[in-house]
């Protein structure tokens, strides 16, 4: 028996070593990069659905006029420069010498077509229209100059244009989603070109030799779709994948200790926050400790909101529950973003002050409420909900947790059946975040579309509107910061933390982690 087990152990060792040798040999021969993506790709049409997985794969084949660097700041993309020649008109100078994958040159006509396509798509689209909504008209000045007129002065046009990818007019005119999924219309200006797409399995790309930028390190890229967290990690451990995105929090320590692999992290643009019901009095689901409805909505009292914020130990959440994948937050946007205010500091954990404030506000014994949130959307979201509920219960606000799949939660929110709700929000700029999250709800202008608590502060609205219509970026950032300070001091929402995004790679590769969470093969280099 002993001999058999010894022999089998040796055999296993030999087999493993030979397999590793074979794989390493094959890796050094061809420069192929195999990436494990964490979300399902639904369509290759870059203007169909604005989901992170769809945009991730699209950004290998297509590019936008305005690009974004790893620190969430705008840089030239297919447009070399842009400026506002008057409050209503922006002039974009396009990059010369850029070719599409079929060899035809990129001109202003393709840009104009791509900017108009989201509104013309007859199929139900995932709301790319929102990014071109501000555009009144587009004028082609010459083959490489474009003038865009906005309906009203709008300083965030460059940010919006980052989300519109430029397609070849020749191939995409009258193209529907099937044309993109089959590859016929997948002609872009990006560093990689389409080879093969197997829905639900993988997308294969090969390097485009005529790309205008620095040639990427890998000839072949395979984007594998592996939404199951353990399978993705196993793929990296088994050397079947060279890189994976979104390393599960429980595996980060183990992968970091592995000599063959490394884990890189960056603060993501996503902020996890709590919306508080501030528009209804009484609030239908806030009761006293005996279960009878409170006549007044306690959340409308700033002291109560402040108390709830003090009661949360954000460090405990980020260190224990997020296992390091979070950074306590106070701003709407994460540190490198436009409008981040460095003088604001995350709320300190102070349950005594919390209890004091509650007593001052007239709730010495606390009250009861329900905390709602998703359980399948953000990193460890349901655990965050449970932790927050416990922190609040300790200071006297007895909290019940309602964790639902995102689809069901959104349904409840639209029906106004929640009191305090968790949401994650990623944005380039503080004023854009404020516009969606806490601006007074206005369906015509599109303000406050995600203002679940219906917070309304006319001063904040004013600052936000002025900021967005300011073309000068320095002035605009100052206004955005001012609006943020005002809103945060008034506890419009309770920010919890900024997520930290992680990637796992083979040690021989190098990637600068991105704030916008995108995994782009063209930026992966070989050390």
């Amino acid at each position: 028996m002993k001999i058999i087990s010894q022999i089998s152990r040796q055999l296993t060792g030999i087999v493993t070593i030979s397999c590793l040798c074979l794989t390493s040999l094959s890796l050094s021969a061809a420069t192929e990069l195999r990436i494990g993506l964490s979300g399902e790709v639904t369509s290759l049409d870059p203007h169909h659905l604005a989901s992170q997985p769809n945009l991730t794969v699209a950004r290998h084949v297509f590019e936008s006029l305005v690009d974004v660097d790893t620190q969430n700041r705008l840089i030239p993309g297919l447009a070399l420069s842009w400026r506002a020649i008057d409050p209503h008109t922006w002039e974009f100078k396009l990059r010369k010498g850029v070719a599409f994958h079929d060899g035809s040159p990129f001109t202003a006509q393709d840009a104009e077509f791509s900017l108009q396509r989201p509104l013309q798509l007859k199929s139900p689209s995932g709301g790319f229209a929102a990014y071109v909504r501000a555009i009144a008209s587009i004028r082609i000045i010459d083959t490489h100059t474009l003038q865009i007129k906005t309906k009203s002065p709008y300083g965030a046009l460059p940010e919006d244009l980052n989300s519109i990818l430029i397609v070849s007019k020749k191939h995409a005119v009258n193209a529907n989603t099937d044309d993109f999924d089959s590859g016929r219309a997948m002609v872009g200006t990006g560093p990689y070109q389409f080879v093969r797409y197997q829905r639900g399995d993988r997308l294969e790309l090969s390097r485009f030799s005529g790309w205008w930028g620095t040639p990427p390190a890998h000839d072949k890229v395979t984007l594998r779709i592996v939404p199951s967290d353990p399978s993705r990690t196993a793929g990296l451990l088994a050397a079947e994948l060279d890189m994976i995105e979104h390393v599960p929090s429980a595996d980060i320590k183990k992968l970091s200790k592995n000599n063959q692999l490394k884990v890189i992290q960056a603060t993501s643009w996503r902020t996890i926050l709590l919306h508080l019901d501030q528009y209804r009095s009484p609030s239908p689901y806030i009761t006293d400790l005996n279960g009878s409805l409170l006549s007044k909505n306690p959340l409308q009292d700033k002291r109560v909101r402040q108390a709830l914020s003090f009661a949360i130990n954000r460090l405990a959440i980020t260190e224990r529950i997020m296992e390091g994948l979070g950074m306590p937050a106070i701003n709407f946007v994460s540190p490198p973003s436009f409008g981040y205010q460095t003088t604001l500091k995350p709320e300190t954990f102070d349950p005594i002050a919390a209890k004091q404030l509650l007593t001052e506000a007239g709730y010495p014994n606390g009250f009861q409420l329900t905390l709602s949130g998703p359980n399948n959307r953000y990193i460890n979201d349901d655990q965050i909900l449970q932790a927050v509920a416990q922190f609040w219960t300790r200071v006297g606000v007895r909290t019940t947790v309602e964790a639902l799949p995102m689809s069901t939660l959104l349904n409840k929110v639209r029906k106004e059946e929640t009191t305090i709700t968790l949401l994650g929000w990623g944005s380039f700029a503080a004023d854009l975040a404020i516009r969606s999250l806490i601006a007074t709800t206005n369906s015509e202008k599109g303000y406050g579309a995600w203002n679940w608590g219906r917070y309304s502060n006319s001063k904040v609205d004013q600052l936000m509107t002025t900021a967005l219509s300011t073309i000068d970026r320095t002035k605009r950032e100052a206004l955005a910061r001012e609006a943020s300070i005002l809103a945060i001091q008034d506890v419009a929402i309770i920010p919890l933390h900024h997520q930290v995004v992680s990637w796992g790679l083979r040690s021989g590769l190098s990637y600068t982690p991105r704030t916008d969470e995108f995994t782009l093969a063209q930026h992966v280099t070989i050390r």
Partner: protein, 331 residues
Amino acid sequence: MLRSPILIRISHSIITLFAMSIAVFLGVYALGNPVDLLINPQANQIERAQMITQLGLDQSLWVQYQRFLSAALHGNWGISFDSNTSAWSLIVERLPATVELALCAMCIAIIIGLPLGLIAGLHPSRWYSRLIMNGSILGFSLPTFWVGLMLIMMFSVWLGWLPSSGRGATTNTLGIPLSITTIDGLMHLILPAINLALFKLSLLVRLTKSSTTLAMLEDYVRYARAKGLTEHTIIIKHVLPNIAPPIITIIGLELGGLIAFAIVTESVFSWPGMGKLLIESINMLDRPVIVAYLMMIVSLFIAINLIVDTVLIMINPRLRKQALSLQSSLA
């Protein structure tokens, strides 16, 4: 007038399909509004309203059902909200992968399960029979998810013998992309097929064992032995055909279940089949796909059961004669 049992079955099936379509439609409607998941967070309320109208979600439930039914009868099962392609083509695209996996798993379960169950049933008190039965308990107790991950850990990460996820290279056989025809495809197929087969294998082992034990006690076996037939002949010619009906019925039902609900295995191994499509559609509230999928599954179950019933009639000499004589009297 004699009515053919086949026609009766078919009319029942149509009624079932109709009832299922209503149940499915209502159930999916209750899940929530898909627009909330599809709409870009930056979109405003007007764009949202536009999208709702575009998708036809502003109509009353009854109107939506009518539109769905009339389109379905014309072969149009709706456009997926997420992928913007026809729901039917999405399912058909993924069908070969799932059917391939399900059939392989079923084959493994039958080829290993039946003989093991037979052996255990013939000599129930021997040590190997007891081993087989205890093994079968493990087989259906261990959760599929866990077993799949353990298989990946052992064979992909530690030993590095087999790939951890995905489907291998495919070749077009009769217009259908099959991966079983290539070595790479087979390597990718082994682990998920074993994972999927484990539960069914255990079920078959136990079923075969109990049927065999009971059959061996029957009178006809004693008479056959008295006649002088060898054990071998008794088992193959007499016992097997008699224990076949319940086993074939179960296999048919389980096959339908394998094709429809190999969700866990497909998720763990990232196998691009219909199960993963279903889960993703439920998460994203892609109603056309969910509805088309469920209707397809119902049709599949009905078809499989029809085939199983026919096979049972054919292998039973008494029923076979009855069915054939009915045919001739009708003619």
